[in-house]
Structure formats: structure tokens, C-alpha cells
Symmetry: D2
Subunit: 388 residues, 4 copies
């Protein structure tokens, strides 16, 4: 590859949170440049945002339809290579379908769509077009999450028996959606967020992380979703019992009313021989526990002999002791997506490490997770079959 990949962005205008994160992640490694954008549904904001980001005026669009159409007519050495969609959940599907239909690869925020049905249509479209769809389940971009996956799926723990995954946040402890918090407003609005609030926003991350690391599939669940803040229209808290396809059991806790918590995603997985523990607050560390040997602290970027998987080392930019964080994890997803695209463009073959980014299948399971927890929470039956 002798050039950067060109990215077009849908959503992510001034003051949006996740759009800025996507841009940093895409910028970081010098493999991608922001080439155009339809950065807001508000044309003034779209234009001002494009200028702020130094986009050329003719590539600042005021809606995604225009962008996709116009870019598809540009010469190959100028037009964008892929579209990144960072709008609220309800506005993922249409631009994603249109981008694919016009031959553009897609990066998309999670949850992938508004409904499970949309997710399935998108999956079909990806299959038909043969294009890449990358789903930004950020936490799977951390090197020590990949190390955990390599260890668990490589058999270091023996058969997995138990999973404890939790994602407590406290930022919705008040009715912030009525206090001018834009992030809170759309996330708690069923018309924009979907049929679940907390579980759709962060429960899906926890579920994805679990299946990503263990390689197991959730087969049954028993959910208790709660709306703890009066006046709110979606769940802001939930506890879910899990069963896995190998016989393991688990529990998934997600909450946005865990007052005083930041973003405390944590997963513990126990097998016959030991356990692993990873927490997002200290993401460069993986704790490995053993039945009859001392607990080990594995560190990203460390210079061990024969310990770290190539999936971990491929996703580190610095030696051990130079903490990498959330933005680098996000950057790893973009980097692997970009390396995969570049390899294809160059007619080469991406390595298995490059191919390691979340895809449309995981987006479908994420939407199914939302459907199933909502269904289970409303049910008097203990166990709900995890249906896709």
C-alpha cells in the first residue's frame, strides 16, 4: 500500500462523543485519513464540523445520501475507501446498506442496528457484496483481552466452567436525560436507542467480550432488567444469568446507576485449571490465576519469553510500562481493519492477526442478545433460549 486509506464519516459532528473517538483511533497509526463527511443532520453543524476538521469544502456533505452518491462518482484515486457510521443506533442501518450498495466498506458503531431484523438484512448484504463490515466493539481491541482469548481458547484453563462479567457505570444515576445531557437523551429514548437502554448500550459489550474471549456461545439466559430512576423510559440496570454451549454457567451484570462507577467493565473466566481476570480500568494487565501456583500478572508489551500470544503483541505499540488505553484499543480495531483492506487492495492476504476485528456476525449476535434479554426480563419462565 502506498497511500493512506480514505475515510468518510456519517455523524460525529462537533460535540458528539464517539465520533471524535473514531477519528483519533483512525488517525493514530497514520494508515487512514478523513477525506469527507456528512457529520450532522443539521447542515450548519455539518459544515462547521467539516471545516473544523480541515476537510476540503467540496467534500463536506450535509447528508449521507449525498456523500455516498457523490463519492461513488469520484475517481478511484480520490474517492473514499470506506464509510464510518457513528450516528445514534436508529440511524445505523440505512447508511450502512447504502454504503455497501455503492461498493464502500463500512465501519459501524455498536449496537449494529436498531432491530435484530435490520441486523440480519445487513448481514445478508455484507455476504452478497463481499465487502468488509467492521463493528467497533472497542474492548476486544485491547491486547490483553486478546491474550485472554488466546489463553482460554488455547486450553490453558482447561474446560471453562464459570464466567462473571460486569459493566457498572454510574452516569445515569440521575435523570440526566431531562437535564440537558445529549448523550443521556438519545440513549434513554426508545425511538433512538432501541428496545433496551443499559443492556443495548453496555450489556452488549459485556456479552460480546464474553463470547469473544471464551469462544463459547450463550445458549440460555435469565434476565432481570430494571429501571431504577423514576421517569426513565428504558432499563438502566440489569442482572442476567447465563448458560453456555459447553455447560458453563455465568452471570452478566450491567448498570448505569452504579453511582460512582466510571466504566468498570471487568471479566473473570474460570476453568478446571485456573482463571483469568481482565478489567478495563487497568487494561494493560491480565491476571492469570492457577490452582496450585501463584497468580501471575501478565502485562501488555512485556518482554517475556514465550508467554504473550502474537495476537497480543501485534496490538501493542509500545514496550511494557508505557500504558496504552481506550483510544489505542479503538485504534487497534481501525488498524486491523485498515491492514486487512490494504492487504486486499494490494492483492495480498491479511494475516490472522489483521483479520481479528469484530464483524457483522457479532453484530447480529449483539442484536439478538438485546432481543433475548428483553424477552427474558418480561417472562415468568426462568430460562429463555438464546435465539438469533
Amino acid at each position: 500500500m502506498n497511500r493512506k486509506l480514505r475515510m468518510g464519516m456519517v455523524g460525529g459532528g462537533k460535540d458528539a462523543f464517539i465520533g471524535a473517538v473514531h477519528r483519533i483511533a483512525a488517525n493514530m497509526d497514520g494508515l487512514i485519513e478523513l477525506s469527507c463527511g456528512a457529520l450532522s443532520v443539521n447542515p450548519d453543524v455539518a459544515i462547521a464540523s467539516g471545516k473544523m476538521l480541515f476537510l476540503p469544502e467540496d467534500r463536506i456533505y450535509t447528508n449521507y445520501e449525498d456523500m455516498i452518491r457523490a463519492e461513488s462518482k469520484l475517481p478511484a484515486d480520490k474517492r473514499m475507501d470506506f464509510v464510518t457510521i457513528v450516528t445514534p443506533n436508529f440511524a445505523h442501518f440505512a447508511p450502512a446498506m447504502m454504503a455497501l450498495d455503492h461498493g464502500f466498506h463500512v465501519v459501524i458503531e455498536k449496537p449494529m442496528t436498531f432491530t435484530l431484523d435490520e441486523a440480519k438484512q445487513l448481514s445478508k448484504k455484507v455476504e452478497e457484496t463481499g465487502l468488509q463490515l467492521c463493528l467497533t466493539h472497542t474492548y476486544s481491541g485491547y491486547p490483553m483481552v486478546k491474550q485472554a482469548r488466546a489463553m482460554v481458547q488455547g486450553g490453558a484453563l482447561g474446560k471453562v466452567r464459570k464466567v462473571i462479567v460486569e459493566y457498572p457505570q454510574g452516569w445515569l444515576s440521575r435523570l440526566s436525560e431531562r437535564e440537558g445531557n445529549a448523550q443521556a437523551a438519545w440513549r434513554t429514548d426508545p425511538k433512538k436507542s432501541g428496545k433496551s437502554g443499559c443492556m443495548g448500550d453496555i450489556g452488549t459489550h459485556a456479552a460480546h467480550l464474553t463470547e469473544y474471549i471464551t469462544g463459547l456461545k450463550i445458549t440460555h439466559l435469565c434476565a432481570d432488567l430494571n429501571t431504577m430512576v423514576e421517569g426513565r423510559h428504558l432499563d438502566d440496570d440489569g442482572n442476567v444469568l447465563l448458560k453456555f454451549d459447553n455447560g458453563a454457567a455465568g452471570v452478566l451484570v450491567a448498570s448505569q446507576i452504579a453511582a460512582g462507577e466510571e466504566n468498570a467493565l471487568k471479566i473473570r473466566i474460570y476453568g478446571e485449571l485456573g482463571g483469568v481476570e481482565w478489567a478495563q480500568h487497568e487494561p494493560n494487565t491480565l491476571i492469570a490465576k492457577w490452582l496450585d501456583q501463584p497468580t501471575q500478572i501478565l502485562r501488555a508489551g512485556a518482554n517475556y519469553t514465550g508467554v504473550l500470544s502474537s495476537f497480543a503483541t501485534h496490538n501493542c505499540r509500545t514496550p511494557g510500562g508505557h500504558p496504552e488505553g481506550y483510544l489505542e484499543a479503538f485504534g487497534n480495531i481501525y488498524r486491523n481493519f485498515a491492514l486487512t483492506l490494504s492487504a486486499h487492495i494490494d492483492g495480498g492476504q491479511p494475516t490472522k492477526e489483521m483479520l481479528d476485528f469484530p464483524r457483522v456476525e457479532e453484530g447480529v449476535r449483539g442484536m439478538a442478545f438485546i432481543d433475548n434479554v428483553v424477552k427474558s426480563s418480561a417472562s415468568k419462565e426462568k430460562w429463555t433460549l438464546f435465539e438469533v
Copy 2:
């Protein structure tokens, strides 16, 4: 009080684990002396154990019936004041009833009895006799658990919304009961342990801690108990959804197959205004989290102005930075029990801090917890009413 209280011990002979712990706890503060014992059902062990503990020969008994009868005939200035029962679960009830019938106060290991029905009988007997029964739910003896209780029940967090309580251990990851581990053997034997293994042994601690700190009662639960090690006869793992009488929700996780975990009891409680977190591995610390102020690290014995409750400071022996541990927590239960007894003997009134030790009511709820989780786990219904 011008003398030490005299303790008679049932069970706890050589090589028993918890009996030795009780003796250290009772010795520690110089308020109690071991005066007699029926330390084993095996007469040889009973005698050897008594000698090892420097008991006078005439007060080494070979069964509890003899001990209670003989001691009750001794003059008041010589006979034991109370009986401590540290036998396996199935052998708690009979000596406790007999001790109470003979006018002796009782200290008893948890779970209090073998069945809920026994627990209720014991409760009735305590009420009838007016004697003290102290249940050694160790973890409630920690000063920072008491601080958490004072803060939560004092309203510092506002209304409680969510509880996450967990007690993972790894020591039963193998079929140790067949490998000569005596502790494992009786705890996994339904005839000695009762109808639940893991939930009876440690789930009860987690449930007690939750109700102790929050002052709330569990009203409904949804349990998934598992036997993960093939060949085992009782549950060795479980996850339980909880509902509380104020509308709060929670989850309780207990496991003895969480390979590599020691004794990782931890509780997190979230209210409208903040949260508290306490973990047994670092018991001198209570973490207090707030919606819009930095998290605080409260430390046992610290010299703060106006922060620590009298319930916390009363239960510290040393200034902050001199870590107290499990044995001191256990010692606090004995110390408060002894101070209460001494106050009564002296015709005085124990303070509220002295009266703060677990009692028969908590033992009844603990047995009900076991009954209810076992019932729920076998049920297809999601929610089981917590019945006592």
C-alpha cells in the same frame, strides 16, 4: 467484671480448622479462657486435644452431653459460662439445645443448623430461655463492614438500588473430597453439610453480609446452582438474582470452583448518591464512591475527623496502618459477645456497639436462604418468594 469468661468447646479437636480459629478469636483480648471441652467424637482425639490445650484433666470430656451435665453441676465460680459449638453442620442443633436447656449461653458456627426447622426450634428456645446465642458470621465482625453498615443505614448513599455480592473460592476445583481432604469431605456430604454445599457454606455468608450492611431483606430470588465437578454430591457453584424489600435488585455469586481464587468475598452497594465497596482480601479498607466527588478510601483505625462510626472504631485494636485481619474480625464477635455477657453478669447494660453481634434471627434467615435457593434452583419459575 473481675474475671475472664469461661468457655467450653464442642468439636474443634486437633486438625480441625475452625475450632482453632475460634480459640484464637476467644483468646485474643484476654476476656475469655478455654475452661473445658468435648473436642472430638473420638475419645482419644478429645483427650489428646484437651491436653494439647492445657485443659485440666477433669474438664476434658469425651462427649458434649457429659460436658454440659458435669459443668452444670460445678459451682458457679468454676463452671463454664458458655458453650462454643464448632462441629460440622449436622451436629450443631443437639448440643445447642442442650446447652440452652442447662442455662448456658451459646456460640455457634454458621450455618446455624442442619435444617430450617431446627433453626426455628432453636430460635424459640433462645427466646424462652432469655440466653444469648451468638452466630459467628465472621465477616460482619470487620470494622469496615460496620462502617459500611453505618453509612448505608445512615443514609449516606440515599435509597439503595443495587447490590453485587460475590464469594468466589477455588479450593473445590478438583474432587478433593475423594483425595483425603477432610474439610472438603464433610462439606460436600449432604448428610453432614445439609441440602446445599457452596450456598450453605459461603453463600450464606454473602447473604448475611448483604442484609447486615443494607438493613434490607431479600424478598425474592432466582437461583442457578451448579455442580461443576463430576462426582460431587452438592452444588459447588451458584448465581442468584435478588430482589429486596425496598425495590432494590441485586446479584449474589458464590463459587468453590473459581480456580485460583482464595476467599474473595466482596460486596458493592449502590444508592442514589453513591456506592460502597468492601472486599475481604483488603479488609481494612472501605471504598466510598460518589456521584460528583472523588472516590474515598476509608481506613480502619484512621484518625479522621468525623468520618468513622463508633461501630467501626469500637472494633479496632490498633491505629490505621496496622492491618487487622480475619482473626481480629472473628475476635470482634467474641469480644462483643463477651462484653455483652459481662455487662449482664455485672448487672449493667451493654452498649449498642457491644450488642452488635449476629444472633439466632440471622441464623434462621441463613437457613431459610439455603432452603429458598435450593427450591428456586429446582424451579422453572423465575422468581421464588423468600419464605422463612
Copy 3:
């Protein structure tokens, strides 16, 4: 500003460590683009590296003299705005002087020069030209370091009494310079690194951090430098007693033979009323300790009321709980440098937060620190005056 700033890089070709870090830091926020480079003294490497970084062929140079001369002749809307120098220590001075002489701003790795004398010449040149020189003392880019500085210099701790600063690494525990480790080779070579190894490489970071946070100046020191690995030509370990201009005392520990340590920079500062503690391994946390109130955990990006300084919040990209790391700290230095330059270019005034990046004065003190510790270590006198 309606465009990105253009950066030319000296050094940092393929396989160099710190050059890649500089590029990520510069890329991250979309304010800077790499426009040209003289990336290696080896022309083949220089060219290959430029291509790898997608530089246009006519702006890939094979030595810095050519680059500076050629760029200075380009039209203003094309030529680079500043030069980043990421060569080994001995090769900082010449390109920096030449860049300034040709009107280019400079970013430069620490230690700033090879000798104190060069540092003073460079300082004079910066003063004469009125150009910006930014010294990448990375650790001062962390938001919670800036929070510590705001608290300490704002008087929250009262008068500072004691500083403990330490920077243990273990990576030079073996004679790695003879085992093909390129990083080790130049850093332990007096001809490339200067008169000190460990103290020049990381002791300077510790000294800078101390003066940056406290606002105090070291006035006297007593150093014990050691070469613990046989065959090495420079110090690989050292302990230094410190005296400060307000009467405070301290100790600085730096080591590259602290086997098993990664990059464990940590600073503790104690005043009359409390203390602060910051460690690079968990950089988003600042611990604040108080005489009679609980210790507080301050977190970068947190949504507190009235706690975080504008210097901290200005340097966060994400809300609390999304860990930012070493690359973001590095990025903050570039970002503030870029914002300052942009403000000047636009004819505006940078804010005080933008102006907060290390400068030539700090580079001079860093070189003086090296001179003084080496002098002290060789002296039989206890105290050596810190002379600049």
C-alpha cells in the same frame, strides 16, 4: 487555523522506538501532518522509511541539512512548520540550531543536548529567534500530573516538605548492549548518550517531573551513581538526596537494573496538610492524602464538581473510565505545542493551558541535572550545589 501544521522529522526511521511514538502523538488529534523527513543517517533506510510513511518522494530527504535547506525554499503554503528531532542525544544540537536559524520551530527529545554547554547555546538561540522549542518530557503531559501541579502550586498541601521520586526499570539488568539491543547500545555508549546513562535517560525525567509539579528548584544534591552490570560504560543505577529552594528535602531513585520493573515512574509529594501520589503505571489516577480526612482517588476525565483543574481537563480526550495512556500524554505535548503555534499563526493568543508544554529552560536544567549528579557522585563531599 484552517489547516494542519506540517512536521518534518529528523531521525525516527524504521525500527527506531521513539520516532514512531512521536508520529502517533502528532497524528492523534488531527492537528499535525508529517510532511517531510530525514529519517535516518543511512540513506536507504531514510528512503524506505519515508515510503513506508507515505511521504511524497520529493520530501524524503537523506540528511537533515538538505531537508532544512530545501524546505526553507518551499512556498509558505507547502513548507514544513516545524522540525521534530528524535535522534540519539549526541545528534540533537546541530539540527536544532540549524532549524532555528532557518526559521523553523523545533520539537526535541530529552535530554535536550549532549552537553550543558550546547543546551545553553540552544537556549540563547531560541531567545534570539523568538521561535518555539518544545522538549518532549512526556510525563508532564499526563492530565493527572497537571492536576498534581495545580494542587501543589495552588497550596492544597501547604508548604511542601518532602519529595520521593523514583523511576525503576529493569531492562538493562543484563549486558544487553552486547546482545544486539540497539536501544541499549546507544544509551550505554558515552559517545552517543553523554556523560550519564541511567540518570541522563530517566533520572532527568524524574527531576523534571519533580520541579514541574512542585514549582520548586533543586538547590543541592548528593548522588550515588552505580554501574551494577559488569562491562557497562555508564551508570545504570543511582540514588540521589535532594534539597529544594524552600527547605524541602527529597530523594530521587533511578535504576535500569531493577530487575522485573517496567517503567515504574512514581512521585510522592508531602506538604504540611497532605500529600499527592502519582504513578505512571496507573496514570489516570492521582491519589490525594490528607491529615485527617480519607484519602481520595482523583481520576482523569471525571465529572466532579469543582475538583479538577482546567489544566487537567484540557488534556483529557475522553470521560473518566476510558483510560488514556502514554501516547496521549505524548500527544498532549504535541497538541499544546500545535495549538500554541496555530494561535500565533492566526495572530491570536494561546491560552495558559495551551502554553503548558516543556521548553528550552527545562532542557537547560535537565542538562545541568546530569552534570551535577555526575559531579556529586564523584565527590567526597556530601552536598553539591546545583549549578546551571
Copy 4:
């Protein structure tokens, strides 16, 4: 042994801190009983304290001379076996000498005496009498300190190169000696404490711990002692450079004005192959770091295969995960002293684990440490030879 050992206590009356700690430590394991005491120089306090501790009236003494004389005349099956001296530093020597002269073993608080000369006399007396003298350097009683010692002296780290030992406290940040704090008053009074404050009180602990774990001897030091609180008469802070007899270097930091610190004793030792780290705030953990393998967390009482030394396991009362603390560490010193005495009384041979408690030689080195740091701090020479 068919009885408890009998202890007589000098000092430690009501409201004294360390006397109560000694009693808990002695009580804990049921091997020792408090038989008599001269608990205060104030006769009323002495008597009231004796009653509070349930001593028989005829064995409550009002001065140590009476106690030692009277007890020495009691029949062998009644008189005390040893004397514990818990008075302020200036009042250690006389009762210790008298006790030894009357044939009683001695337990004594550190620093052992008021002057180095006294320490040497005491050492000679111990040698002459052949009696046991136990010095309560508490921190060496922790099992994981013993594990560190076994690992370091067993060669797990290779040759030791560097030691960082620190003991920051904050409790003397104010002029508490003038605010009615009795502990502060005598500790900062040169007539009661000796020629050093902070270094005598806690620096000696740090120095002892260092030599205890490493088996090395300090040969040279360079001390900077400070009195940071105006009006105080002894040092309240200090930093010391160290040289060891094997060529290793180190630094010792002690402070009582590290505002907000509790009792944060911590030691790190680095050798050619790895390092160990132990901190008193989390005493059940020993961190072992390795050049090319992950850091390990070794835990007291853990059920590892072939990891823990017999010196560690002998000093644990409970399985891993039941935190033992300061009182148990103290208890270990008493327990080993008692087991050694009992073995001698029974005509047997104590094991090497029993013999592992601090002795008079360590007391002499502690007093020499105080002399040498005070001398060094007053000197203009960098290095002061460690003379005994």
C-alpha cells in the same frame, strides 16, 4: 510442655499503645498467660491496670524491681518465666539487666536500649547468662517477609544489587507533642527517646527488615536527617543512602511528616534475576518480579506446590485468603519465642523455624544504626562507615 508460659510485664498500663499489642500477641495462641505486671510507674495506674487485666492482687506490682525480686522468690511452678519490657526507650535497659540477673528471659521493645553502649552491655549479659532475649521487630514476624528472606537468601534473585526501603508515616505532621498526644510526647523527647526521633522509632525497623531479608550488612551510609516541624527537638524525617557488604547500593527513607500516610513500610530488593516487593499495608502478599517472566503474587497460607518456604508456612494460622495482620506478625514473634523456651524447658531442641525471632545482636545493630545515621547527618563527608 504441659502448661502455658508465664509472662510478667513492665510498662503497658492503661492507655499505653504497645503494651496492649504485646498482650494480644502473647494471648493469641494460648501458649502464654499474663501472670504478673508492674504496669506503670504511677502506682495507681499500675494497680488499676492490673485489675483490668484480671491479675491476682498479689501479683500486681508498682515497680519492676519489686516484681523481679518477688517473682524470683516464688516457687518454680508459679513464678513468671519471662519479663516483657514495653516502657519508653530510656527505661528498657535497667529492667532488662535486672531480669537477666535474676534468671528471667526477656522480651523487649525496639530500639533495644537508650544508647549503643547499653546495648553492648545487654548483649554481654545475655551471653553470660545464656538466657533468651527477644526483640520485637514486629515486621520480621510476617510470613511473607520470611518468604522474601528465604527466596533472597536462597538465591532466587541472584546477587542482590539494589534495595529500596521506605517507612513513611504522617502522624507527626503537626506539633502533636504539644497538643496532648502522649505517644508523640515521649517519642520526640530526646531524654526519653534517645538521640534520634524518626530514625530511632521507625528507621530502625526499615534497617532491620533490610538486613533480615537480605542477610547483607550495611557497611556505609550517608544520611540526611531533618526536623520539618518547627519547635520539634528530634528528627522527624530522613533519607539515607546505603552501601552493603556485597557491593549492593540502596536507599532508606523514613518519615513521620509524610502527611496522609499511615504506616507504609515497604521494601523492594532487586538482584540479577528478579526482585521482590513487600508492603506492610498488604502484608499477606509478596510480589516476585522476574526478568523475562510475568510478575507473581505469592500469598500467605496459599496451597501452592513447592513455592512457600517452611519459614512462611510455620508462621501462618489460616489458609490463604484469610488475611492475617500486624497482631499476628507480633504474635509470631511471641509464638516462636515461646516455642523455643518450651522446647528448652522440655529438654528438647527448637526447630530452626522456632528459633527465627529477633535477638540481642539485632538490637545492637539497631542502636548502631541510630548512632551512625546521626553521625552521618552531622558530617560533611559523603560516606560514614557503619561502626558497631
